[in-house]
Symmetry: C2
């Protein structure tokens, strides 16, 4: 059996609960597909920070680097100042492991209800390719004369030719492999002219290599509108780190809610481990109550399997989730949902 060396970072809030179910499903699918999973858990997040002041020690980063992939629950707790864990742990992982593709499918599964009237399953099938390592997330900026009436706080979006090109290339390759073969760049190039121009030029240049892909552009404000009024308009979207953050939460909302939205932080080169996590946060208000929906984490496990080349196992997990979603009715606990999906995986093995 081929062994997947998996690092597990449950994190904060509901993170541990949803990750447990993700692992349950991973374990159910691995045997039948000739896979073995070896997990190492890393205790990172709010508790660790309170105890030691550490967010992500270099030693942990090095150990994580030795794994095939990372499964992450959720990061963030109201007891920790805003930004400390997000930047010191989550973004540090994304940046250190060059997760330049933040892959976020927005798909409405049959049986799942959407807040949009008159929108059906076939109308929502968007693959958002969000840049993951730069843009407004770079952490550049600063503050002068803090706390005075003359304070100035800046926040700088940093966009490099290398950083933009690699994610644009990935997006074109994905678009070329989908039936509709359409790629939309989402930005705000009429205001953010320097960054927007680099994105536009890069898309136009790479487009020459993909004559079969239809290329489109949409301002981020209009894109937010179209997610609600005409989601059919989009196939693959490539966008900047911050715009991607906003439109994928919106995407989760139209595709059945944040409980179903999966993501992969990919380093397509394979030089560093990729990291898979639900789009939702740590939801401290419902933590420890068995209320969280683990589906987003389970779908993230499918992305993980796919990324590691186990596409049949990935498809099986996705089919099990789809079958479960089509028949959900009574409220269930986190564990019940995980077990229901794990059982379907086992049945079909």
């Amino acid at each position: 059996a081929q062994t997947i060396r998996l690092a597990v970072v449950p994190g904060d809030g509901i993170g541990g609960e949803v990750v447990a179910e993700g692992l349950k499903v991973l374990s159910a699918v691995s045997g039948p597909h000739g896979l073995a999973v070896e997990t190492t858990e890393y205790d990172l997040g709010a508790k660790r920070w309170h105890a030691t002041g550490e967010t992500l020690p270099d030693s942990a980063l090095e150990e994580l680097a030795g794994h095939d992939a990372i499964l992450l629950g959720a990061i963030g707790d109201p007891s920790v100042p805003s930004g400390v864990l997000e930047r010191g742990l989550l973004l540090r992982l994304r940046f250190s492991f060059e997760h330049y593709v933040n892959l976020r499918p927005v798909r409405l599964y049959p049986g799942v209800s959407t807040p949009l009237a008159g929108v059906g399953t076939d109308d929502v099938d968007i693959l958002v390719v969000r840049e993951g390592t730069e843009g407004p997330y770079a952490g550049a900026g600063g503050v002068m004369r803090k706390g005075t009436p003359n304070e100035i706080a800046t926040q700088d979006s940093v966009n490099t030719a290398m950083g933009v090109e690699r994610v644009v290339r990935y997006a074109f390759a994905r678009a070329a492999n989908r039936p509709r073969r359409k790629l939309t760049l989402v930005h705000k190039d009429n205001v953010l002219v320097y960054a927007g121009d680099l994105w536009q030029r890069t898309v136009r240049r790479v487009a020459e290599e993909y004559p079969q892909v239809t290329v489109d552009y949409c301002h981020v404000d209009a894109a937010a509108m179209f997610f609600v009024t005409q989601p059919q308009r989009f196939d693959v979207i490539v966008t900047d780190n911050l715009f991607g953050d906003i439109i994928t939460d919106l995407g989760a909302a139209i595709a059945g809610g944040i409980g179903l939205a999966a993501s992969g932080n990919l380093n397509p080169s394979g030089r560093f481990p990729s990291m898979f996590e639900p789009v939702h946060g740590s939801a401290p208000d419902i933590a420890g109550q068995g209320k969280a929906d683990p589906t987003a984490t389970i779908l993230s496990v499918a992305l993980l399997l796919d990324h590691l080349g186990h596409d049949k196992a990935a498809a099986q997990v996705e089919r099990a989730v789809a079958a479960d979603l089509a028949e959900r009715s009574a409220p269930r606990t986190t564990a019940q949902t995980g077990e229901a999906i794990a059982e379907r995986v086992a049945e079909r093995a």
Copy 2:
């Protein structure tokens, strides 16, 4: 009769068509309220730029400054490089006249259909107070090694204590005068830590003067989600220039579409004229066909009247629009909609 000296900038695309209807309604309401309107039209936009290379000459800026208010249609045309007119004309007006409040009501009128299932008229009544003069719109940033594999493009959000405080104060004052008295700051303070911290500190400080206002915070990604899943959650929102741009287009989408979304670019001090414009763009694809909905412009005229202290006239325009929206059925031309609303205004005078 009191005279309103109004500068009119029809602009590009459908701008002229919708502005004509706004003026029709303004004229219908002014007489009965003892108002006279004196308009001066300014020919600015794509045509002017093609002919002379000018976006907004200093002389025009000075003349505009002598008016009581500005009514603007729409700016932007595909024949002009992206950003030229937006930055050289629209943003130059907002910045020069210190339109630090970009006021954008998101209201679902009775009879108007929303793409959201199960959401009724009372569920959507949000007042977005968008900052209008700084943030990522500042135009700061640049490009190095352009066109090379080592290119770096930056885009800097500039936030000043003065700039943030004045819009936050305005938002609190508005929130204190609404039945629900709730103010939500929308930002992304866990990532954009410098700017986010300034916004947070400013809101907390001003909140001390408004103990009757409930203060809330929401990350912009979550806010985008809640616009779709729980719009009831919001009363007044105060937010940065770019986040405000995105969520107000989303707001337009949930409140019946971009054809209905009005805005005021306010200089509350009265030192410079405020400017009123529909949220929609120039829509070159339907320009000149009489297809554009002038309602957003007409509602912007109501905001204009209200801003100039003619609140009864403003309320009358809004009532006429509400009555019209409640009974719309057959498709109408731009002019027919304008006339229908103007007639209702006249009837009730």
